[in-house]
């Protein structure tokens, strides 16, 4: 019944999906945190930049962003992100696009977490002479992260599925292979089911594990 799978590197394709997800998640966690720090910080210019970034990027379709990284950044401006093979260039461009997009959502999730930290603790931190960066790093962000493990899990699951958009610029992840198999094979429903199952295998454990983590690290008040 599953003869049609023969000759396709299903695991290889999903491995690319996992790599895309991993690097984009890492990148958007870092960039999203910086954006959130800008948005709550005391410098008006940074606050304005953070707000503008989130507002603009959040409202552009991911496909447009991913296609822009290839057509705009690479083919027009010649930015190849230090790679020389096409597959590597496209992979890195996709990570860049996914990071740029996802970090807007990470920033907003984190910002809602920052709002759960009582203002009094920030005042107490100021009163013992901590600077703004210290207060953010030592008092606010650790508590903010703990309270948004749930929302960040949603962002991560969405990111995992969003990696399929990278197929638009030819990254050989799961969705590109699915497209190829749909062209070549007759069992359309089964092909779709196999890929749907593959993604569930990736996202379901993520949700369960992080859900448990969220309960474990929650700050008792």
């Amino acid at each position: 019944m599953f003869d049609f799978l023969e000759g396709y590197d299903l695991l290889g394709a999903f491995w690319v999906t996992v790599q895309l997800t991993f690097w984009s998640a890492l990148g958007s966690l870092v960039w999203g945190t910086l954006l959130a720090a800008m948005r709550v910080g005391p410098v008006p210019l940074m606050r304005a930049f953070g707000t503008a970034y989130v507002t603009v990027v959040r409202n552009i379709p991911l496909t447009v962003i991913i296609v822009f990284t290839s057509l705009g950044l690479f083919q027009t401006l010649g930015i190849s992100l230090g790679a020389d093979r096409f597959t590597t260039i496209n992979f890195r461009l996709a990570v860049l696009g996914l990071t740029a997009y996802t970090s807007a959502f990470v920033c907003e999730a984190l910002r809602s977490g920052i709002n759960t930290v009582p203002l009094g603790q920030v005042e107490a931190a100021r009163a013992i002479g901590l600077s703004f960066p210290q207060i953010l790093r030592i008092i606010v962000l650790p508590q903010a992260f703990r309270s948004v493990v749930g929302p960040l899990t949603n962002v991560l699951i969405a990111l995992t599925k969003n990696t399929t958009v990278a197929a638009a610029i030819g990254v050989a992840e799961a969705a590109l292979l699915m497209r190829e198999m749909i062209e070549n094979e007759a069992q359309l429903i089964l092909v779709s089911a196999v890929f749907a199952f593959g993604f569930i295998c990736l996202t379901l454990p993520t949700g369960l594990l992080l859900g448990r983590l969220a309960k474990k690290v929650a700050v008792k008040r």
Partner: protein, 256 residues
């Protein structure tokens, strides 16, 4: 050292000096040209009806509230507007809040060592040593490894006092330290504060605890509607208040 009625403390000994301090919240003139001098080792209790501006006054002294006019000097230096300078000054001014405001994700011990390590740049060992002796002094040494949420309100507030003391502040500000406490816990906190006063700490205490004002204060400052209405010894204030406003306030809180 009780201050004779009406005398202006001599400035050589002044630690905190407010001159013509003004503050508005929108249209509300919450501090109206406040003049106040707090001398080294003095315990000043600020009382008054709610909305009189006493908390704002307290918070203005370490610039948790900005002021619109006038000047605040601490130990002879004007209060810096922001940045590193302000952070350094705040480290010298201890503050205890109504709602304790302990860092919820850190243990009691870490709450007390944090400022010593990050601001005073002490090494962890000596910071912990100091923290444990302070926790012992306020009577919560046994709770050092617990988290704030596991402590009673009275215990949390005593930890907050230890956290402020760990910075070796020149002056301690108390912003209604017992108002959020269950009645049976108020005394354990007041006792720590009394001990602190006996040890010669300079203190500004905003409170509704008249017993504390009577027994521990060198001077009582009575505020109403953003002004200092009366400023005198506790004996004088409670025994023979001069202003109608103070008489009215005292009659409402003492005879019920």
């Amino acid at each position: 050292m009780p201050v004779p009625e009406g005398s202006v403390p001599d400035d050589g000994d002044a630690l905190v000096v407010l001159r013509g301090v003004d503050k508005h919240f929108g249209t509300l003139h919450v501090l109206q040209s406040i003049d106040l001098t707090i001398r080294r080792g003095e315990v000043v209790v600020v009382i008054g009806p709610s909305g009189s501006g006493k908390s704002t006054l307290c918070r203005a002294i370490n610039r948790l509230e900005t002021i619109d006019g006038g000047e605040i000097r601490i130990d002879g230096r004007p209060l810096p507007a922001e940045g590193r300078e302000l952070a350094r000054l705040r480290a010298d001014v201890g503050m205890v809040f109504q709602s304790f405001n302990l860092f919820a994700h850190k243990t009691v011990l870490d709450n007390v060592t944090l400022g010593q390590i990050k601001v005073r740049k002490k090494d962890r060992r000596s910071a912990e040593e100091r923290a444990r002796s302070l926790l012992d002094r306020v009577g919560v040494a046994a709770q050092a490894d617990k988290y704030p949420a596991q402590l009673s309100g009275g215990q949390q507030q005593r930890v907050a006092i230890a956290r402020a003391l760990a910075m070796d502040p020149k002056v301690m500000l108390f912003d209604e330290p017992t108002s959020a406490l269950d009645p049976e816990m108020i005394n354990e906190v007041l006792e720590v504060m009394r001990q602190l006063a006996r040890d010669g700490m300079t203190m500004v205490v905003v409170t509704h605890e008249m017993g504390f004002a009577r027994s521990a204060a060198n001077r009582v400052v009575f505020m109403a509607d953003g002004r200092i209405v009366e400023e005198t010894t506790p004996e004088e204030f409670f025994g023979n208040p001069r202003s109608e406003r103070a008489k009215d306030f005292l009659s409402k809180i003492l005879h019920h």
